[in-house]
Amino acid sequence: MSGRTASTSDERTLRGGLTQLAEALREPLFSLSGAARGERVALRDRLVQDVEGHRTRLDDLDAPLLVVLGGVTGAGKSTVANTFVGAPLLRTGVLRPTTSIPTLLAHPDELEEFRGARVLGELARLESEAGTPPTASSSSLWLMATSALPQGLALVDAPDVDSVAVAHRDLADLLLDAADVWVWFTTAGKYADEESMRYLRRASRRRTALAVAITQVRETDRAEIVADFAGKLAAAGLPDLDIHVVPFAPVNDQQVPVSAVATLREWLWSLAEPRARRVHRLQTLWGAVAALPDEVEPLLGALDDELGTAHRLMTVAEEASVDARREFSRALDEGLPLQQEVLARWNRVVGTGRFLALAEGAAGQARSWIRDLMGSTASAEERRVEREVRVEVSDTVVDLVTRLGDLAAAQVAEGWSRESPGQALLSARPDLATKDPGLVAESAAEIEAWQRHVVELVETRGAERKVRARWLSTLINAAATGAIVIALAQTGGLTGAEAGIATAAGAANQTLLVKLLGAANLRWLVSASRSDLQARFDRLMDAERRRYVRAVAEAAPEPDEVDAVREALTALGVGEASEHGPVAPQRGRT
C-alpha cells in the first residue's frame, strides 16, 4: 500500500457504499415470487449479512485476524486445532459429523474482542471449561482462551460443509463469510469431492486469503496426490497455491504430532504480525467487494422477474375487466330479459291512455284529478306497477352485474393460478378468488342512481318542448320508466316468437313515449341513458380491477429498488462504471 491517506479515503468511500448497499438490499420483500420466495429471501438475507460483515471488518482493520478452519467432515480440523494449541480442547471423534458447534480460540488477552457482537453477532456466545460437552443450540459460538496462540490471531473450528447435517453447512457458510483467512481442510480421499471444490472455487472468485491443507495422506501416495490436487486446484482457478500436507499419523490425546502440522502452523503464526494481518484482511475484503456485483446479480434478476410477474398478473385483471365491459355492452345491445308479465302490466297501464290525457293539458289533468277525487284507483295502480317495473329493472341489472363480476373474478383466478406467484397471492388473499362481496350493494346503488339520472334526462330534454311546463312529476316519472324499459328491453337477438311477444308488449309504451317526447328525443334519451348505464358499470368493474391491481402492486417490488441497489454498487466503485473495482493487494501466500 503506497500511502495511508489514499487508502483511508478509499476506506471511507467503501464504508459509505457498503452501508448504502446494505440498506438497498434490505428493501425487497419478494412477496411476488411464489415458490421461489424462500430461496430469494435467503439470498437477500445472506447478501445483507455479507455486506454488513464487510463493513464491520472495515471498521476495525487492526482487530485480531479471524482464521476459519473449514472443510469436509472428518478432515481433522478439530484435531489439527488441538495440535496447534497443544491441548485436547476440542472434541474429536469417529461419528460424522463430529463438530456441530463452532469454537473460537484466541489469546486470553484478546478473547474480550469476540465477546461482543462485532463479529458473528448472529451467534450466541458460550464459555466454559475446556472439554465440557456443548449442549446448547447449534447457532452458538464457543469461546475458549488459550495462551498457546499468539496475539492477533483467532482460530475458529468450523462445522463441516458436506454432511447430511444441513445446519452445519449453513453455520460454516456464516463463519466462512466472516473470516479474514480461510484454512481449507480436505483429505486424501475427499480432495476431488465436488462439494469441497465448490467452496474453493468461491474462494478463488472472491480472492479470499486462503491456505489449503490435505490430511491423512500416506507417504507412499504423497507425491502423486499432491500433484493431482494441485492440478485440480489450478482448474478451479487457484494455481500456485501451496498445499499443506498433513501426513497420516497416529492420533494421540486428540492431537497429531506437531511435526505433521509444522508448515501450516508456521504460516498461521506469521499472520499474527500487524502488517500481515492488515494485508490479508484487506485482500479478503477487497476481493469480496469486487465480487459483489456478480453476487447481487441474481437478486436483481429476481426483482426484474417480479416486476414482469406483476405486469402479467395486472394484465390478466385488465383483460378480465375489459371482457366484462364488452359482455355488458353486448347484453345491453341484445336487451335484458325483463320479466314479461311485469312489462305486460306496465303496457296495460300505459295503454289506458291516461298519461297521454295528462300530457294534453289542463283539461286532461282536471279529468284525471276529478277521477281520483271520485275514488278511482287508477293512479294508485299506476304507481304500483311503475314501482314494480323499477324494481324489476334494478333486480335484473344487479343480477347481471353480479354474474359478470363472478365471471371476471373466475377469469382472474384462472389466469393467476397459471403461475406460482399468482397462486401464492390467491392463497394469501382468498378474497381475490371471488368478486368483491360489496359489489351487489354497490351495483344496486348505481342502478338507483342511474334511474334517477334518467328522470333528470327526461326533465331536461322534455323542456325543449313547450309542453314541459305543464308536465306533472307523475308524467315525468312515467316517461322515464318507459324510457328505461325501452333502453333495456330491446328485442334484437331474441328468438322469433319471443321478439314478437316483446314487440307486442312494448308497442303501447313506445307509442306513448313517441307521442310525449318525439321520436328523435326518444332515440337520444335511450342512447344517453344506455351509455350512462355502461359508464356506471365500467366504474364498478374498474373498482373490481383496482382491487387486483392494488394487491399486485402491494406485493410487487418498487421499481426504484433495483436502481437503489445499482446506485449503491456504483457508489462502491464496483458497479457497471468500473469493470474490476479497486485494485486488491497481492494475494497472501506462504
Partner: protein, 537 residues
Amino acid sequence: MTVPLPDRLAAFDEALTLSRGRLSPQRLDVADEVRAKVGDRLAYGEAAVVVALAGGTGSGKSSLFNALAGRPLAKVGATRPFTREATAWAVGEPDELTGVLEWLDVDDRRFAQPGAGAPDGLVLLDLPDHDSIESGHHRVVDRLVERVDLLIWVVDPLKYAQRALHAGYLRRMVAHADVTVVALNRSDELTADGLRACLEDLARLLADEGLERATVLATSAANGRGIEDLRGLIEQEVDQRRAIGRRVAADIRTTARELLDELDDDLSPRAGASTAEEEGQLVEALASAAGVRSVAAESVVLYRGVGAERSRPVVSRAAWRVLGPLRRPLRLFRRALTERPPPASASTETEVGTGRRPPTSIAVRHALLELAPAPGTGAAPGRQLRGILEGAGERLSREVGRAVARTPLRPHGRLWWRLVAIWWSLIELAALAGVLWLAALGLLAYLQLPSPTPPRVAGELPWPTALMAVGALLWFVTSVLRRRALSVGARRHEVRIRRRLRAAVQAVADEEVLGPVRAEREVFETLQRRLEQAAAR
C-alpha cells in the same frame, strides 16, 4: 409384497394410458421411461442378476469389487477420482449375459465361470463415483443406478454421513429399501468401539430417511472383514432371483406415488353445493337461452289452431272453405274498425313463473363456472374439468338451439276432436234439417200448396222447430264447451311440450358437458385406484 408383480404392472399400465393428456407431460415422460426400463429389464428375464457397487470417491468400491471377485480386476489408486468407467464381472456363459451387458452399456467386461463365491448369473458392477468434480461420472452412476437389481452403497467412515449420498440418492429410494445394501467399508481404520458407534449412527441415519429395511454391514477390503457376509448375501440374492422383481416393483411404486401426488385435488364444484343442483342450474340457463318458454307458448297457438280445425263440424267446415278467400279482407276490415293495438299478448300469460334470467350466454357461462372446481390448485383433474367446461357455452347454446328446433310442436290428432266433430256435425245437420224442413213448409205455404202437418214432439212442439231450436242451442253450447276443452288441452299440450323441450335440452347438456364431466371424474377415480394399486406396498 401384497400386490403380485403382474397385477402391479397391469394397474400401472392402465394408469399410464389413462394419464395421457391428463397429467403433466414431464412426469409422464419420467413414468414412461421407468416403464420402458422395467419392460426391458423383465425382457432380459432371469438370466442375470445385476449387482452394483456404488459410492463416493475413495470409499473403496474397486477394492471391494476385487475382494468379492477374488482377483484384481479393477485398478485401485490413490488419486481421486480414480475409477472412470464402470467395470462388470459377469459369471456364466458370455453368450447369455451379453444381452444384459449391452443393455447396461458397460464396455469393460470380465467373464468368469461359476464356482464358489461366483454364483451363476451374477453381474457385478464397479461404478465410478457420484460425488467428485467429474460430472461425467455422476451421469454414468445415475444411469446404472436405475438399471441394476441390487444396489450396494459403499461408504467409508469419513463419508457415511455425506449429504451428496443421502440427499442425492438414498432419500428418493425409500421404496427400494429391500434391494439396498449399505456397506461401511474401510472398517479397518476404526477401533472396535468406533466401528460399533459408526454402524449405529449409520443405521439411525437410514432409519430417519425411511430406509430401515436396508441391510447395513461393515466391510474391509484390507483385512477381509464382512467380505464373506457380503458374498453370501449376493449369492443368496442371485440364487433366489428375487431382487429383480423387488427392484422392478420398487421402481413402479415410486413412480406411481409421484403420479398420485398430482391427483390430490378437490373435484367438487366451486359453489360447494351438490353437483345435481349445479347441473340443474345449467339446464335451466340453457332452456332459457333456447327460449323454451316462448317456443312452448307457440305450441299453444298451434294446438288451438289444429284442434279447432279437426273438431270442426262438416257443414261449418264446408262453409269455412267457401268463405276462406273472404277471411283476410274481413279481418282487415274489422281491425280498421276497432283501430286499437292488439291486447298485451294473451300468450304472455303462459309465461307466468318466469324466473329472472340474465342474457343467455352469460347465464350459461355462469352456470358452467359454478360447475367447475375452484381454480387455484392447478392440479390435473381440476385443470381437465375446467378445460371441458371452458368454451362449452357457445357450442351448448348452438346445439340446444338445434335440439329445440328439431322437437316437434304440432299435436297429433286427438280422439275427442273427432268425437266432437261427429257430435257437432250431427247437431249441425239436425239443426240444418229443421231449418230446411221449416223452409220447405214455408215454401209450400207460400205457394198455397197443401202442406203436411209436421209431427210434434211431446205433442206440443213441431219437430222441425224443435230440431232447429234445440240444434242451435246445442250448437252454441258445444261451441263454448269445445273452446274450453281446447284451452285445457292447449295448456296440457304446452306442459308436455315444455317437458319434451327440457328433456331435449337436458340431453344436449348431458352429451356436451355433463356426460364428459362425469366421465372425466370417473376416469380420475379409476386412475387414482390404479395408481394406488401400483403404489401399494
